[in-house]
Symmetry: C2
Subunit: 250 residues, 2 copies
Amino acid sequence: MTNIAESRSESYQTCTHDPQVSCGNCRLNSICLPLALESDDIAQLDDIIQRCKPLQKNQHLYREGDDFESVFAVRSGTLKAYKTTDDDREQVTGFYFPGEILGMDGISNNSHASSAKALETAAICEIPFTSLEKLSALIPNLQRHFFQLMSHEITEDQQLITLLSKNSADERVAALLLSISGRNARRKLSATQFRLPMSRVDIGNYLGLTVETVSRVFSRLQKMDILQVDNKEIEILDSQGLRNIANLSS
Amino acid sequence: MTNIAESRSESYQTCTHDPQVSCGNCRLNSICLPLALESDDIAQLDDIIQRCKPLQKNQHLYREGDDFESVFAVRSGTLKAYKTTDDDREQVTGFYFPGEILGMDGISNNSHASSAKALETAAICEIPFTSLEKLSALIPNLQRHFFQLMSHEITEDQQLITLLSKNSADERVAALLLSISGRNARRKLSATQFRLPMSRVDIGNYLGLTVETVSRVFSRLQKMDILQVDNKEIEILDSQGLRNIANLSS
DNA sequence: CGTGCGCTTGATAATGGTCAAGACGCGTGG
DNA sequence: CCACGCGTCTTGACCATTATCAAGCGCACG
């Protein structure tokens, strides 16, 4: 798809710190940093975080195999993380919304285990990992927070494992919609009406289904008056019904 | 299956430190602690680690929802970790062999996100997490090591996600056998001949398949002269063939 | 020596994949 | 401004893989 030169030119460059924005006044800090940090602790964190130029749609934040140097927080926009399988298919491993952190799968090997690309224009905070490690050793709450963040990623992955292993197509799609709905609510956006940032292909890829199946599920849920679907615009008409389907319809 | 009283009586109790064994002389430390630690760092780690009385087959090390206090290293035996889904089915999220660490999914909520039980008699090292945190802040290599361990768990889970999402029954079983084979090799055991510590049900549960399908795959692989199967005794006759099936047969 | 659990095997059914065609929407260029 | 073309989405018909249901075997344990 892209050769090395292209991949270089479209790839992500670190940029200078914008002093306007800081973790202390960031609207997302209740998601990203739900911490009891002293204000000078936050200042120290601000010092190491780089707030970067926006990523255009389809641009990569990092690619599988890149040297691992930082983890990233999403400030705006949405990203998907994915791995390429041996036979060149794509496995989407997660979607990342504002306030969420990605890139932690790169720590274990010092190289990113997955790729991350923007599904729409996105703004990103870069957190250099060696600085974060040093700071974590000094601020116990911060160390705890990062252990928790990583642990949370593990439990999320286990949720997905269960979903893929045990649940029908309807249940998987319903669960994803409820997850997105919940994450919107956390950011004070509508839990019932939103625009999906990802394509049907991405959804299928994430949920272990084909595009056709995803599309059919959307149609079915619409016919059941649980959803109103207009391409990527989704309205949840019957959230209890959706929950029922996600949990124990089978 | 068990009421609370039973669960208490069969559940795991911490025990006193056996001074005979220490991380420094543990045969497994190349797996568990592949670290450049100074010998007095190891001594400090030894101080916080409790080496505990063995767990009998089917005993729980911890249960979903238990308060999170420690992570655990397997010294001998095998454990499975699993979650119970809303509709009371079981999702096995991992198998843990000697030298491997489990329990890290409990950090994010201060409560274990899954249960862990022994598949056969097992010996366990308990590592109290608050002590580990304190020590990590003092020993940069140890902090790094734990970040890496958790990150490794994430990448493992992502492997499983991909397996469940993209691969056929044959591919899944082949991949599991190769994984077990590799982990045996790492402990200097035979990579081609071993006894599966888990039942067919557990395998199916882990791989998102029914028992019947797992059994049929074993039969098929045997018919293809790739495996020799005698109940839980497995011999890999054609490991290249097995690799082919795991990767790109489909 | 029986009973039960774990494993295997077979027959049948259902879920989701594959293939194919058409609709819709969006951006580009005439 | 419209037309074209491509990419994304939807829908249908058919097929394959795996689940389900059922039965039987064998070994371990009481």
